[in-house]
Amino acid sequence: MEKTEARWVEVFKVSLPLCLSYVPIGLACGILLHAAGFNPLLTLLVSVLVFSGGAQFLIASMLTTNTPMQTIVIMLFFLELRYALLGSSLSQYIKGTSKKFLYFFAVSLNDENYAVNYLKFATDKSWTPKDALAVEHWSLLFWSVANFIGSLVGNLLPMENYLDIVDFALTAMFIYMIVMQIRNKLTILVSFISGVIAIVALVTLKSTMGLIVATLLASFIGFMIEHNIVKKGEAKGNFWLKKIKPKASRKVISKSGEK
């Protein structure tokens, strides 16, 4: 039945859950950017050009604390470094595309459309790089429009007292992404280790660098633990590597289009 649908409709359906979930976060981000002094047009521009929830929330919060511009850009670079890792894991699927394509693909790559595309590439043989780019563009459209409207809302309504609350949208988004990443007890352990290292590193380094330290250390520890278990040949039925199955039904999972 689905085969008779136009390809773009099919791709749009895959992107839709992601696009809809961008609406509340995009609105929140637009409100915060407005509070940081961005006018609606600049908010639209940053949403299209940077297109990263984390980065835009970071810009908003650092502008309100009068952080120097070069510090903002450096912090942003570190935050965005994770895309180097996401990008390299996706690169095997978009081999043989043109440099121009890679350029467009990289510009609109972000955490969530990465998750959708990675899953599609891994499970659906007919998924092409062009489809993946279309998912990116749909999510970009919803994200930037939501940001623009959020900025207008911030213009019309006094939101100053609610910014701490709106800011939680990003935290909730990251929590969701952690939950989606949980495959086995080892992932939970890695998450816990990362949390502990993050607190220690942030407090001692007094900068966002703590996040990078925690990420690199915790992921490496996870890798080493798994490597050792596999090397000993105990991978099967191992306490740490046993798969955790979500409670939600299969139908719900495939409908959401994500992991």
């Binding site: 992601l18 670079f77 978009i94 510009v107 929590i175 998450s191 942030l202 992921s219 890798f223």
Partner: protein
Amino acid sequence: MQYSSMDHFILIICSMIAAFIPRFLPLKFFSTRKIPEWFNEWMKYVPVSLFTALVVRDLFVNTKTYTFVGLEYMAKLLAAIIVIVVAYRSRSMGLSVLFGLVAVAILATFLTV
């Protein structure tokens, strides 16, 4: 100090470049080469580590002074638990964010955010 719209524009352009480089170079580099297996195995744990670090910063660290705040942000902590449950049951990002925002808004009326 107040930034002008022109400053903001320059900031956006610099941010775009800062965001673009880490997204493009590895894609470019690895699209013509094979990724080593161990590298992939390691990268598997990067997203979960980074997201946890970011969440922990939001929940347990004062980002102005970079001090550990313990359980001070009670409203956020309770809302975070709600988000975990909603995310686990629904597998939907939109629902998770929506429940999180509503929960934190209600909890903030009688707890510190």
